[in-house]
Symmetry: C2
Subunit: 257 residues, 2 copies
Amino acid sequence: MKFKVAILGAGNVAWHLAPAIEDAGHEVTEVYARDLSSARKITERVYAAEPKDELDFSDSEAEIFILAVSDQAIPELADSVILPEGSILVHTSGAMSLDILGYSSATYTGIFYPLQSFTKSRKMEFEDVAFLLESDDEESLQKLRKLAKSLKSQYYNVRSKDRLAIHIAAVFASNFTNHMIRMSEEIMRRQGLDFEMLKPLIIEQISKALQIGAKNAQTGPASREDYETLENHHRFLDYNESFAEIYRLISQDIIDS
Amino acid sequence: MKFKVAILGAGNVAWHLAPAIEDAGHEVTEVYARDLSSARKITERVYAAEPKDELDFSDSEAEIFILAVSDQAIPELADSVILPEGSILVHTSGAMSLDILGYSSATYTGIFYPLQSFTKSRKMEFEDVAFLLESDDEESLQKLRKLAKSLKSQYYNVRSKDRLAIHIAAVFASNFTNHMIRMSEEIMRRQGLDFEMLKPLIIEQISKALQIGAKNAQTGPASREDYETLENHHRFLDYNESFAEIYRLISQDIIDS
């Protein structure tokens, strides 16, 4: 089943999603952005999509409308957009509920949330994306499943309540792990040391956590309850109050776990 | 250059190091543990090492003695062990200074710290280990370099002061990233959700951080300063005070970075 799809938004998700949808054999009909030149940056990545800066889609041939904008922008766009009869409007947010699309002109609403971290400069393989899907309409849900499947992505039916928990879990597993690495980079840089030497350790630790579970994979001074080392480390971090406090709190949570 | 090496200790590091040293063409002569049966578990992994539970090595043919024990056990063992003339005693700790070996009977002392996370149940490729080396004696340092090189490991000369910083950076990059994943596992489990769906996200995020740097790789509500989502997440975590506080603190540090 091939779909005609319109994308509203010109950020990281739209950037990667538009060509992927086309590569999967669907047609991207329009890309909307408040700013026409931003819309054009995305339409240039696909065959013949029309860039748009106004929200009247009543003549669109698209059936699925993907709202790929910031969480803050979703309600206003959803309420303002004019959609053709029978259309499905979905948003791509991990944090926003389905209800937020309730006042839109769409016949059906849903969620098409890619549980992945997108960066424009980095190629995204949609095989490595898990889509969390939701819709009150079984036929729409079926279409979203087909769209995800055609992208070779994994997909899960998830209610808004659970999606919140997954989003929070994703923040810990992704944004916060990333920030731990950033803090590590800063500690090394301050000392004039080469961060390269830590990379094999990071790769091994994460592989191990994903293979045997993070609980079994834990090592280090906190898990050994080596209070002398913890104290030495904490003292070293005196120069940065936030680092010291984060060190203390996570170490304590490892000990208590 | 082939070495005769004795290992003092029977933990995770000894477990992986003993066969690796032998595979690299050296000879493991003795393995010491307070408990003879523990020593035997390691000697069974190599050709003909003698298990020992007493610390008189005056007749040992080994030239390099590797103290692979917990940080707490290092000083007493280093002070008690009797070593042959000309021997090099090294410890494998990221946290302890070189001075701690100062009262030992070794002619030379050094540090042979594998910057890696070892788990007995998991095979370790020494190509993926960075050894941090230190010695006041240039010839000993040269031998430690050769030993590391023969294991196909990377190695860096690092002073004790810098080794402390590297150890702290390693705790953030490895133990703390692992704990973030553990917290994520717990949030998912509590909700009855499958942690599998988060794995592609974690793999992509870490790969990205190592490739373009964690600062450039950051995404998520804190880096977008999306206070509404942060507040919703924080409220969700009310059930676990420690999780809520860690969420708040790391998010703030991401915002401030």
